[in-house]
């Protein structure tokens, strides 16, 4: 096990820069998720850590050792690929034993380590099968088994669940998390799915356009997003954003988003009157009540546990998630009360309050 440090890591393909100076430090045993929309450079970053892409500038250290010019096989890492990359001409056993054979382990050691991994992953009955004879979930487990037999210092996962169906994805998510709790190996996990990131990570690195937007624990990012991007990316359904202007209403500060509509601000917020801002409210922080902002119901989606209400507010969309069961109908006018609001700068996207 080891810690991983990225210092001002940059990557460009020819003249196109795709990663612009990323600094991340991942502690020993931590489960770190790199998350961001596609093309944000998260996979490239992972491949640089793996040694599959050259590092254009900066430094990557694994366990204190700078690995910039070290071949993948000497970095003591294991990687799980999106399409699993199982060797089609080898049985499950041979797939898992491949790296151990190359490392010159004894037959006895190989057998015991493959067996151990197969038991952890429930693959004992499939050792003599070929990858094509396995289901998606089983292939996924073989790919993980291949990684864990080596007892590497770091696990790298490149969107390992995106080829699975929704149900299996949730199940494997828990399995990977449980496996990490058992093995406590430093893990770096790339995904575009923020729910996966939230549910699995000790530490989330939110990336966008080749830059790190924010680093923190799941709840830290949820409670204190540093900017518009993180606020909009973390949390499901996504946060509502409405542009407006800070104004004084009834003696207290509020954000006027349209004539007659004001989002009240908490008393401790210090901000200049008349300033242009974007106000953000999470759907789950809106409650239905007798006072609040008047909106028109457009669509109601009950999911059982809660109900999502899509509303219109002076031409803008706003949606709310409520746990109580209301009988709302499209066209009905209701009032939503924001319990927690965030303010962002419209130009830079930075959090103001």
């Amino acid at each position: 096990m080891a810690d991983v440090a990225l210092r001002q890591v940059r990557k460009s393909f020819g003249a196109t820069a795709v990663v612009h100076g990323v600094d991340v430090s991942i502690a020993d045993g931590e489960f770190c998720v790199l998350v961001g929309p596609s093309g944000c450079g998260k996979s490239t970053l992972l491949r640089m850590i793996a040694g599959l892409e050259e590092i254009s500038a900066g430094e990557i250290a694994i366990g204190g050792r700078v690995v910039n010019n070290i071949a993948p096989k000497e970095r003591d890492i294991a990687m799980v690929f999106q399409n699993y990359a199982l060797y089609p001409h080898m049985t499950v056993h041979d797939n898992m034993a491949f790296s151990l054979k190359l490392a010159g382990e004894s037959a006895g050691a190989i057998r015991s380590r493959v067996t151990e991994a197969a038991q952890i992953l429930g693959l004992m009955d499939y050792l003599q099968r070929y990858p094509r004879q396995l289901s998606g979930g089983q292939r996924q487990r073989v790919a993980m088994g291949r990684a864990i037999v080596r007892k590497p210092q770091v696990f790298l996962f490149d969107e390992p669940l995106s080829n699975l169906d929704a149900k299996l994805r949730v199940q494997m998510r828990t399995e990977i998390r449980a496996l990490h709790q058992r093995l406590k190996t430093t893990s770096i996990y790339v995904t575009h799915d923020q729910i996966e990131a939230m549910s699995m990570a000790d530490k989330i690195v939110v990336m966008n356009g080749g830059r790190v937007e924010q680093i923190g624990g799941p709840l830290e990012l949820y409670d204190n997003p540093a900017n518009l991007f993180v606020a909009g990316f973390i949390g499901s359904p996504a946060m509502n954003f409405l542009p407006g202007k800070v104004a004084r209403a009834n003696g207290a500060l509020a954000v006027a988003t349209s004539p007659g509509v004001a989002f009240p601000l908490p008393a401790q917020v210090r901000i200049d009157e008349g300033r242009e801002v974007v106000v953000g409210v999470r759907p789950e922080h809106l409650s239905v009540g007798n006072d609040g902002i008047p909106v028109e119901v457009v669509v109601v989606e009950p999911t059982g546990a809660d109900t999502q209400i899509f509303c219109q507010l002076a031409g803008a969309n706003i949606n709310a998630v409520v746990r109580e069961r209301h009988e709302f109908h499209p066209g009905e006018n209701i009032r939503l009360k924001p319990e927690l609001t965030y303010l962002f700068d419209p130009a830079s996207g930075a959090r103001l309050a």
């Binding site: 793996a50 040694g51 599959l52 071949a71 993948p72 096989k73 890492i77 294991a78 990687m79 690929f81 999106q82 399409n83 699993y84 990359a85 199982l86 060797y87 089609p88 001409h89 491949f98 790296s99 190359l102 490392a103 990858p131 094509r132 291949r146 080596r150």
Partner: protein, 294 residues
């Protein structure tokens, strides 16, 4: 594999109800029969001719499509009165060695061009392809000079070393296409698993490329087996000739064509290739059409 099986199953059951029997005959069996007839008739003619006696061959009254009294005289003449067995041995030896050399070189070339991504790899690939486009009927002139200089004239080595000039470009292009279908991740995964480039090639890429190797091998073998111009120009003594050249040069005397023996020679000469094809036909088809399926 399973994908291919699935799709064939679907083809044969899924839409079949649309085909009325008559329509099926007109669109499938009749064209197929025409095709087969055109392809197989020369072989039939060849076989007929090789078993006919000389009298029957030239007789105007005899049925040209059938034999009344089959004879092995032509085969006897071919095998015992000419050096045909030696030609056969030469052809086998030259084809096998030239194919093996070409395959080995092509594997390295194709892998390097397709996967090592070095500067100018595309241009090299194109240059190899262009080399294949130069017709042997032009190339044999400079090659003959080289063969003479090296003192290889009238030896088997002259052919073993010149056949790769057209076999390597051919096999390289075929294998490049095949290597391209092997997912990158497999190699990257092997690299992380601790394999060297050499081990990636021998333990991952080559086992997966077996169908491609087989089709390249069969093609190369057939091309060398049938090669004519180089064999005709670089070999003069009878004991070093290959089957295609030997048959033509020794069984045509002036304007006398020993048709029976000629056809017997052609028939025997085509058997090894036919046997080779029949062994590998499945691999061969997947090599032409296929890709690596996980």
């Amino acid at each position: 594999m399973s994908l291919a099986e699935n799709s064939t199953v679907q083809d044969s059951t899924g839409m079949e109800y649309l085909d009325k029997p008559l329509r099926r005959w007109v669109t499938l069996y009749v064209p197929l029969a025409c095709f087969l007839f055109v392809l197989l008739f020369p072989f039939y003619w060849m076989a007929m001719t090789s078993f006919k006696s000389n009298e029957e061959l030239v007789s105007k009254a005899a049925n040209p499509f059938w034999i009344v009294r089959p004879t092995l005289a032509h085969f006897e003449r071919l095998l015992f009165k000419t050096e045909y067995p030696q030609w056969m041995w030469n052809t086998i030896l030259i084809s096998v060695v030239a194919t093996a050399v070409s395959l080995a070189a092509s594997v390295f070339a194709a892998y390097a061009i397709e996967r090592l991504r070095y500067r100018g790899s595309k241009q090299v690939g194109l240059a190899i392809f262009l080399a294949y486009l130069v017709p042997p009927s032009i190339l044999f002139i400079p090659l003959a000079a080289i063969v003479f200089q090296l003192g290889l004239f009238d030896t088997r080595w002259a052919l073993i070393l010149t056949y790769p000039t057209f076999l390597i470009p051919f096999c390289t292009w075929l294998l490049m296409g095949y290597f391209r279908t092997i997912p990158y991740e497999l190699e990257e995964c092997a690299l992380i698993d601790g394999a060297t480039r050499w081990q990636v090639l021998t333990k991952i890429v080559l086992p997966l490329a077996v169908p491609g190797l087989i089709s390249a091998g069969i093609f190369a073998f057939t091309l060398s087996w049938n090669e004519f111009i180089y064999a005709l120009t670089f070999i003069s003594s009878s004991e070093n000739k290959t089957v295609p050249v030997g048959v033509i040069t020794e069984l045509v005397e002036g304007d006398v064509y020993h048709w029976g023996a000629l056809m017997a020679g052609a028939l025997l000469g085509s058997l090894p290739v036919a046997i080779l094809y029949s062994f590998f036909v499945e691999h061969y088809v997947s090599g032409m059409t296929g890709a690596v399926k996980e």
